[in-house]
Structure formats: structure tokens, C-alpha cells
Amino acid sequence: MSKETFEEALAQLEDVVARLEDDTVGLEDALKLFEKGVRLARRCRTQLAAVERRVEQLLAEAGEGEEVETAPFAPPEG
């Protein structure tokens, strides 16, 4: 999931909210805006939680275009 998409979705959500808060928008449009806003908020939350917590370290150096090798890493005690 690209990060641009998150920022775009968030900007769109804020725009939708501003429009929905404008009382001159008709009921039909307001409903559509609300639905769009709910969808955007869900997308933002999904992306915020998309990465699972983990700590890894690089094992060996990867060559050009090679996938890097990793292993779990635990910080030293102290």
C-alpha cells in the first residue's frame, strides 16, 4: 500500500468533512458524502495499522537487486 494513498485519503477525508459540515449541501449529497467519508476513514485506519510490529536485523549484505536476508533482533539488556 503506497504512502501517497494514505495521505491522499486523509486529505480527501478532511475535505469531505468540511463539505458535510456545510449545511447548504442537500440531503442526498450529504448522505453520499457521509458514506464516502466512512469509506475513507476506514481506509486510513487500515493503513495506519497495516504494519505488524517486529524488529529484525540484516544478516548479510545483499548484492544489487537481491532480496536482503533478515533475522529477528532483540535489543541488549541494560
Binding site: E21, A30, V38, A49, R53, R54, E61, E64, V68
Partner: protein, 468 residues
């Protein structure tokens, strides 16, 4: 001619022997001028003061050990031995060491590299890249055993959805700068990180030296993703800090910048979502107020049973926002409680899975509630339109009229209800007509079918109408 006759080469060897015996190693103070580096890597320069000049040579093997760069005008001490360069018969000082005077060697090297890279535009503000919108995958270049890695991971553990990829390197001593530069290239090219943190705990200028080396500065500037530096304590400034996209004062602060960014983004989403729902609720509540106003309007109280039932359902619907809020508040409290319990590092085995399940269930429940609210709002709008259409006033305005016998308020539905010669009253949208029945029409003249039960039916020929 008296004395020994010597060949030129022989003479010079004798001179060199005398020089070595008489002076040995000397240390000379002076200012550099005419500094040149040959293709071989050897350095040649003059050492001058107000009263004299001596040519000097610094072999490549020695020059490599210098942290700073020889330059015209530098005040230095040169240690070395004097000899005559046989090819030219000129005296030169073969330097073994060049030491800057008045300023530390490292300080000088720092200033020189800073000036050089600044002149190249490597530190220019327009080169700086901003923090990515969602810095969730963090590359970390530091020692795997230092205090810095512990400090950084501790701060980063505050955010649950964040992956760290550590590139373990030495952060001081020979070769450290090369390792740091390589790690930056590897992480940048891996496509697995959004931002890289280059950090090291506090230490002396010598300890932090790797972060003042050119290879590190260039690797930072060339890194495929933005780089945050956090080297030493607040007071320490390194070349790496100048080259970095974002400079943090310490390793801890570098990690805090990342977490603060993510927290800020999450807050923006929640604030927007809350405003979204509040705006929708306000809409529903206003709709309800308008319905109440309609209810109070004249005539509505006498609407048929079916319409009244409809109205009761609308009242029920209007209660929805309040009930939804109560349900959502309950869920929110449970979610916050669960989140508080789960937010501990290190995460207990099984806890992430449970948290996911709870989060997923909450999300599903939340979506179901939202869908319900949406559905109800749409229903509400439709009923509102139906209500407006059903109002007798609206019907009359469309051109229909209600006819009744004089002295009897009940509407007439069938011509057989009146006899010729009786007086009838027709109610129109903007007034009444009083008429005399002349002839009754037949049943074949019905205008509407049975479904149009709320509307008057039948025809009557009217004579002698006059305004009521």
C-alpha cells in the same frame, strides 16, 4: 687541486649522511604554500616563514593517515628528515607527519569537509526531504550492542504498527564509516524501509568521528529514502547531521520524531472521523425537528390511521442517533480498555492475535451500525417526502377539490349521495364554491379506481356557482 675528488652522486650521499647525523629528525614550524598532489598520491609543498622556504614531500602512504587536507596558508608543524634530492641537487624535507597548529587536527578536518560539501550544495535546504506521510517501516543504522539501539527501540515500541530493520554496524574505529555508508546503501535499496535512522550515543569527538567522514555524508545524501540523524548528545554536531534530511539531537529524539508523526496522523484521522459522524447526526436531528413542525401543522392531526402509524415509526427513527451514540460509546470504552491492556512491550505471546480478533470484531460491529444509520437516514428522507405529498393541502394545490353537502362536513365520494336540487360546497386550495346540483352522472363515469380511496370520486354537473 687538493683533497679527494668525488663524483656528484657520491657528494650528495656524503651530504645526506652528514645531514642525517647532524640533524636527524627535525620538527619545523611554518606555513604551507604551493601545495600539489601528484598522480602517485604523493604530496609536494613549500614550508615558509618570514625568513625562508624549504621544499617538502609527503609520501602517499603517510598522507593517507591525515584526517585533514593540506592547503595553502595552513600553519603547521612538519616532522621529518632533511635530504638532498639527487636528481635536482635541491634540499627537501621528507615529512613523516604534518600537524595543524592552533586548531585540533579533527576540528580542522571537520571544518574543511563541511566547507567542501557545503560548497557542493550537499547541505542545501532544498535537498532536504520531508518525513514520509506514514513512516511505518524504519531502517536503523547503529551498533547492535550500544545504548542507542536500546533507546531507539524503546521509544519506537510506543507505536504498535511499526517494523524495524536494523543494519548492525560498528560506529567507531577504523572501517566504521565504510560500514555505515554501506548499510545506508543497502537499506535504501532494499525497498523495505520508509525512512532510515542513523544514530549513535554520546562520546568524544574521536568516538563520533565516523559520522564526520565524507563517505557517510555522501551515503546519507544519496540514500533512496529520507534519513534522520541522531548522533551523540544535544551539543554534538556532525557532518552527518548536516547531510541528513532531518537532524535529531539524540537517538531518542530521532525515534520520537517517527512516533510523533504516526501519532499525529492517527489523530488527524480520528478527528476527521468524529467530525464526520457529528455532522451526520446533526443532519438527522434537524430532519426530525422539521418533521415535528409538520406534525404541528393544521390538518395533519386528522390524517388517516396509516399516516399516523408512519409518523410513529419516524419518531422511533429519530431516536436512533442517541441510541447509536450510546452503543458506540460502550464499544469505544471496551476498545480503549482492551487497547490499554494490550499496549505493553514486549508483547505477550498470543496477545497480538487476540487484539486483531477484537479489533476486527469491533470494526465489523461499527460498520454494521454505520450502515444501519445510513439506511435509516435514507428511509427518513423518503418518508418525509411521502408525508409532504399526503398533506390534503398539497393535494388541493394540485387542482383537486373536496365536495360536501351543505351543512354536512363529510366529503362526497359518490354522486348518489346527493339528489338534484341539493346544495353542495366545494373546497378548493384557495377558497370555497357553493353550487346547486342539476343532474347526477352515472357509475360508468368514475374517474379513479379503488386504490385512490383518499381522493374524492364521481362527477356532478353544477349550475349557478357563486363565491362562498
Amino acid at each position: 687541486m687538493t683533497g679527494k675528488v668525488l663524483g656528484v652522486g657520491e657528494l650528495l650521499r656524503e651530504v645526506n649522511a652528514v645531514l642525517a647525523g647532524a640533524l636527524g629528525e627535525v620538527t619545523v614550524r611554518g606555513e604551507l604554500s604551493g601545495v600539489k598532489v601528484a598522480g602517485s598520491g604523493h604530496w609536494y609543498f613549500q614550508l615558509k616563514d618570514a625568513t625562508g622556504t624549504v621544499s617538502c614531500a609527503l609520501w602517499a602512504s603517510r598522507a593517507d593517515r591525515l584526517k585533514f587536507r593540506l592547503a595553502d596558508g595552513l600553519a603547521v608543524l612538519v616532522r621529518g628528515t632533511l635530504e638532498v634530492y639527487a636528481q635536482r641537487g635541491s634540499l627537501q624535507l621528507i615529512a613523516s607527519e604534518v600537524i595543524p597548529e592552533g586548531i585540533g587536527e579533527l576540528q580542522l578536518a571537520f571544518e574543511q569537509l563541511k566547507a567542501k560539501l557545503a560548497a557542493e550544495g550537499l547541505f542545501a535546504p532544498e535537498r532536504k526531504r520531508p518525513m514520509p506521510g506514514l513512516p511505518q517501516r524504519i531502517g536503523l543504522v547503529t551498533s547492535p550492542s550500544g545504548a542507542a539501539v536500546r533507546d531507539v527501540l524503546k521509544v519506537l515500541s510506543r507505536w504498535p504498527h511499526l517494523a524495524v530493520l536494523l543494519a548492525p554496524v560498528r560506529v567507531q574505529g577504523r572501517g566504521a564509516a565504510g560500514e555505515i555508508a554501506r548499510a545506508l546503501r543497502t537499506l535504501g535499496a532494499s525497498g523495505r524501509v520508509d525512512v532510515v535512522l542513523v544514530v549513535r550515543g554520546g562520546g568524544s569527538l574521536e568516538d563520533l568521528w565516523a559520522f564526520n567522514e565524507e563517505v557517510v555524508a555522501r551515503a546519507i545524501a544519496a540514500c533512496a529514502v529520507p534519513v534522520i540523524s541522531g548522533v551523540g548528545h544535544e551539543v554534538d554536531v556532525t557532518i552527518a547531521d548536516f547531510a541528513a534530511d532531518i537532524r535529531a539531537a539524540t537517538p531518542t529524539q530521532a525515534a520520537e520524531l517517527v512516533v510523533a508523526c504516526l501519532e499525529g496522523q492517527a489523530r488527524r484521522v480520528e478527528v476527521a472521523a468524529e467530525r464526520l459522524h457529528r455532522a451526520a447526526r446533526r443532519r438527522l436531528e434537524r430532519l426530525w425537528l422539521r418533521l415535528r413542525a409538520l406534525e404541528g401543522a393544521r390538518g395533519l392531526a386528522r390524517l388517516p390511521q396509516r399516516v399516523r402509524l408512519l409518523h410513529q415509526r419516524l419518531e422511533h427513527l429519530a431516536e436512533l442517533p442517541r441510541r447509536l451514540r450510546a452503543v458506540l460509546a460502550g464499544r469505544q470504552r471496551r476498545l480503549e480498555g482492551a487497547a490499554a491492556r494490550l499496549l505493553h512491550w514486549p508483547v505477550r505471546v498470543g496477545a497480538p492475535r487476540r487484539r486483531e480478533l477484537v479489533t476486527a470484531r469491533l470494526a465489523v460491529a461499527g460498520e454494521r451500525l454505520k450502515a444501519l444509520a445510513r439506511h435509516r437516514a435514507a428511509e427518513l428522507a423518503e418518508k418525509e417526502r411521502a408525508l409532504a405529498a399526503l398533506s390534503p393541502r398539497a393535494v388541493l394545490r394540485r387542482g383537486y377539490s373536496i365536495t360536501s353537502r351543505e351543512g354536512d362536513g363529510r366529503p362526497l365520494r359518490d354522486p348518489s349521495q346527493v339528489a338534484p336540487g341539493e346544495r353542495i360546497i366545494s373546497t378548493l386550495a384557495f377558497g370555497q364554491l357553493r353550487s346547486l346540483v342539476v343532474v347526477r352522472g352515472g357509475a360508468q363515469a368514475r374517474l379513479f379506481d379503488e386504490e385512490a380511496e383518499h381522493q374524492q370520486s364521481g362527477t356532478a354537473s353544477v349550475k349557478g356557482a357563486r363565491k362562498a
